[in-house]
Amino acid sequence: MRNIGNIDVRGLTLGFRNFGRTNAVVEDFSFKFDGGSFTSIIGSSGCGKSTLLNAIGGHYKPLAGQILLDGCEIKEPTASLGIVFQQHTLFPWKTVMENVRFGPMQRGVSKVRANAVAAKYIEMVGLAGYGDYYPKMLSGGMQHRAEIARALANAPAVLLMDEPFGALDAQMRASLQSSLLDIWKETHVTIIFVTHDVEEAMYLSERIVVMSRDRGRICEVFALDEPFPRNKDKLFASEGGRDLKEKCIGCLAS
């Protein structure tokens, strides 16, 4: 356990006001994401994964409970809580380069340094040569990759990723998965990773949290001890792997 990037969710209740009524989406959710850990959250569509992630990012005010970042309550978004949103959120009026260097420049990093950092991550997500493109000139998957680069370039203590690889082809997905693991190993950033894909969760994470449709209750938490780097074929073929996958899918179905 590291001393930065610890997320402690305590008795969290989240909800939206719809037509004057408040419905709780997530109720009494408690979980500790240790600093430097990699946790995946899976759950069926509409169970409140994005809502939870946004709340951790400081975008929603809890109806009850609290979320602590290293012991301090999260009251508003900060640069330490980086998010890759489920929707496209590149700034259309900024080029890929300007988008990616936006975070560092907001922190007061010089333009030259910010450009260097941005170029590194743009290359990492396979967009080298597209730095001068505006988002509308990129495909959907390319936009998503640029967004990932933008979040990474800001070197957050916690990285919240909402189905970041959902829109990508298998090859690109595999390449970005291994890049993400490299970055995680290098920077010890705390990663909370929302996905629909059980295999992806198993390949990447140390723990898998399965959320239920019933007010976002935690259904089950699975720990994976398999050391990194993992071998996909071996992982899914092994007894334990098959077992875990079945359990996860069973949990999702219930």
Partner: protein
């Protein structure tokens, strides 16, 4: 057929102040079609389009010549209207006079001052209303109350309030331009997607930087539409002001021509007004294309 449509809308774009904001891009698809052989096919209808419009104009001028020459008086009275040839003669005479250019200078000067002020005030007020709930409550009642009053209705008040007619004309022109700018800016700011603001906040931007990096850029297309509408309003109000209380200015020129029974100059004045107004609105659209290469 659609080539003809595209050609015509493009040319008409300058005057069509209330045309769709995307009006400036209607010609674009033709250019994108690329391949040279295809262009050759496309170019032919384009010539036809030009020809059709030219023929229509010639016919119109011919009709005008005939109506005025033969002094038709059928509900409309054409007997006092100068023929196109006479108008051209009047233009040739007037275009070399200092007075004509002085009038154009004064109108343009008033437009630039009043429209510049209206842009600064309108954009600031619109952003303030869109970004701060309190400022909206303070500003909105004035906008809602004053907006429906046509700029011309301000003429008597303006003359009473301002020390000179010059200032009153500029203030009327300002009022003609400012409301579309306020409303369109406000609208643009209000429609900023929450997700973009959230993304900027998560990247460490404070409220002020969100304003400059997200809210204002997002609103720029909408602001330019407001400016184009405001430019139309500005010319409308300017002409009213100049005709009623002006000294110098192209509106004054036109009205004076009527009073001095120089009927050819009336039409010269009208055409000049149309030309100037369309050039100034066109320059706003030009500015928009320069300013927002990312939008399409």
């Amino acid at each position: 057929m659609d080539e003809i449509m595209a050609g015509v809308t493009q040319r008409g774009q300058g005057q069509a102040v209330s045309a769709a904001p995307e009006g400036g891009h209607q010609g674009a698809p033709t250019r994108d079609r690329g391949a040279a052989w295809f262009l050759r096919i496309v170019r032919k209808p384009r010539w036809t389009a030009l020809l059709a419009s030219a023929a229509s104009l010639v016919a119109g001028v011919g009709l005008w010549q005939w109506l005025t020459e033969s002094h038709v008086h059928l509900i409309l009275d054409f007997s006092n209207i100068p023929t196109p040839v006479a108008v051209f003669e009047a233009f040739r005479v007037v275009v070399v006079t200092n007075a004509f250019w002085r009038d154009i200078y004064w109108s343009m000067y008033r437009i630039i001052v009043a429209f510049g002020l209206a842009t600064v005030v309108g954009v600031s007020a619109g952003i303030a209303m869109g970004y701060s709930a309190i400022l909206r409550l303070v500003i909105a009642p004035y906008v809602e109350m004053l907006r429906p009053i046509p700029a011309i209705a301000w003429v008597p008040m303006a003359i009473l309030v301002w020390p000179t007619t010059e200032e009153s004309i500029i203030s009327i022109t300002f009022l003609g331009a400012v409301f579309p700018i306020v409303l369109n800016t406000w609208e643009g700011v209000r429609r900023v997607p929450r997700e973009l603001v959230k993304a900027a906040r998560s990247l460490g931007a404070n409220r002020l930087n969100v304003l400059f990096h997200v809210v204002v850029p997002y609103a720029i297309p909408s602001i330019t539409v407001g400016m184009a509408l405001g430019m139309g309003g500005a010319w409308f109000a300017l002409l009213a002001g100049e005709m009623i209380s002006g000294r110098f200015g192209i509106g004054y020129f036109t009205w004076e021509s009527y009073q001095l029974i120089q009927y050819g100059n009336i039409i010269v004045g009208m055409l000049t007004i149309g030309f100037l107004s369309s050039v100034s609105t066109g320059s706003i659209y030009y500015l928009k294309r320069k300013l927002v290469p990312w939008a399409e």
